[in-house]
Amino acid sequence: MADRYEIRFSGSGGQGMILAGIIMAEAASIFGDKNAAQSQSYGPESRGGASRAEVIIADAGVDIDYPKATAIDCMLALTQTACTSYYSDVKKDGILLIDEDEVTDIPEGDFKVVKYPILRAAREDIGKSIVGNIISLGMITELTGIVSREEMENAVLSRVPKPFLELNKSALTLGFEKASALKKEL
């Protein structure tokens, strides 16, 4: 791993982008043995409006000084606005994961684009659109390998209220599996 590995989660307020960032940081630094820094940027509204969270991951003992993204290894975009506003920091050969129903104007660049109807799958396959962020975490885990499936699962389950454990576990597993298939096409 290089000195820093950068992940950005972007969408609109209420889609759980900041929670996704927190879970990724915990998977890496609490359930894994890496260092992590998670930050966010959002407007005054709690629903709607652009929302983004960033996680910088480094090996244990490596200081993460600048806590924001500089050259992104993997970015998630759940809305067109978020994609258009934030994709330009994705680095060469980095991964841009988009919701293919929401993001129709796909930016061009020297990064790899992974498309999947994340929110539709949350709604139709899992039955709750709210788990779109968890499906995304499963996909990013699989696409990047920056944390293990086990570390991610532990992190997700530690953040989820008991009645929703199975729901989130299904969402995460769906993410792992879909990304595993899509990865082969990269």
């Binding site: 927190i22 940081a25 200081d63």
Partner: protein, 376 residues
């Protein structure tokens, strides 16, 4: 180690630090981006025999914080720019009446209501000169989540030790970001409690000028005394005696000036052979450290002076930096506050240039790197 490691937000770490230091009273009025401090204190204080009160505004919050402290409890309030403005009058009252308390200011964009969710470092001067009159000012500037916890404990220690308010200043980025930190066990960090009088209550003088810092009796333990924002005598009652006014006004400054080395604290990186110095606090110092590391990889002799105490200003450390460097770069999220202090201390011994940003975005390492390379 894994057992005690926790991913924590800056504001959560602040509350943890306050509780570790023995804070038992919080009065505040919630405001973004500091609200999490109040939220956590409202849950935790009642469990630990403490009191939390949400007041009607920030003026009342500051007054209540002072009251809590006079009753003997370590007291805290947290706010952001607009609230910090409202607290100023009572903050000056705490300076003159020598009441220990800690004020957290999580800086957001200003002036006025400004940009609530955007980072800023534009209250640096307000932390020193926000309240009127000559008065002592101690302000701490942590930049990492672990450091917020540690420095909040230090803020209480300095406040109790020197009987004066201490401000902890950090920007929205550091307040809202999360990092894995280790919660200290009791005994890991020093905790200082205020000195109490051991004399007969009849003989107690709360502003006894035989002491640089007189012991402070908590109300309710038999010591009766007067507290006023008017210049006062040793017993606390107002006075027009010019000699007494002079002694007290000088003493409250002297207790800080005589202890600069105990109060000032800096983190230095790559300064030994530095030719290009950077002076930065908070999230901006993190961008600066990133740039310094990048410069060193290119064999450019850059180094970072990162003060953890911004007030009193680190004149000694900045003076040493001015002696050895050809330039000091001062990146800050305002239009020029610390840079003028650095110029004052450098006094022409080296060039001093600022990088300023007020668009709600952090200063990017690339901006600092560009300037470092220009001077290399």
């Amino acid at each position: 180690m894994a057992a005690k490691k926790k991913l924590m937000q800056g504001n959560e770490a602040c509350a943890e630090g306050a509780l570790y230091a023995g804070c038992k009273f919080y009065a505040g009025y919630p405001i973004t981006p500091s609200t999490e401090v109040a939220e956590i204190m409202s849950v935790e204080l009642p469990k630990r025999g403490g009191k939390f009160i949400q007041m009607e505004d920030e003026i009342a919050s500051m007054a209540a914080t002072i009251g809590g402290s006079l009753a003997g409890l370590k007291s805290l309030t947290a706010t952001s720019g607009p609230g910090f403005s409202l607290k100023q009058e009572a903050l000056g009252y705490a300076c003159l009446t020598e009441v220990p308390c800690v004020v957290i200011n999580v800086m957001r964009g200003g002036p006025s209501t400004g940009y609530p969710t955007g980072p800023s470092q534009s209250d640096i001067m307000q932390a020193k000169w926000g309240t009127h009159g000559d008065h002592p000012a101690i302000a701490l500037t942590p930049a990492y989540v672990q450091e917020i916890l540690d420095e909040t404990v230090r803020a209480f220690n300095l406040s109790e030790k020197y009987r004066t308010p201490v401000v902890v200043l950090y920007d929205e980025i550091v307040g809202h970001m999360r990092e894995p930190i280790t919660i200290p066990e009791p005994g890991d960090l020093e905790v200082i409690d205020r000195a109490k009088p051991d004399c007969d209550p009849e003989d107690y003088k709360p502003y006894d000028d035989k002491h640089l810092i007189a012991p402070l009796a908590p109300f309710g333990e038999g010591y009766r005394f007067h507290v006023t924002g008017l210049n006062h005598k040793e017993d606390g009652f107002p006075t027009n005696d010019s000699e007494m006014i002079d002694i007290n006004n000088r003493r409250i400054m002297q207790k800080i000036d005589d202890n600069i080395d105990d109060i000032c604290k800096n983190d230095e990186s790559n300064l030994e052979d530095a030719e290009i110095g950077i002076f930065a606090v908070g999230s901006t110092s993190r961008s600066a450290k990133f740039s310094v590391n990048a410069a060193r990889k290119k064999s450019i002799k850059a180094g970072l002076l990162r003060p953890l105490t911004i007030w009193p200003f680190p004149d000694k450390a900045v003076g040493e930096l001015a002696e050895k460097c050809k330039v000091i770069i001062v990146p800050e999220l305002n239009l020029g506050q610390m840079v003028n202090e650095v110029k004052r201390v450098a006094a022409g011994r080296c060039e001093v240039v600022g990088i300023h940003r007020v668009d709600g975005e952090p200063i990017k390492p690339a901006q600092i790197t560009e300037l470092i390379e220009k001077y290399s």
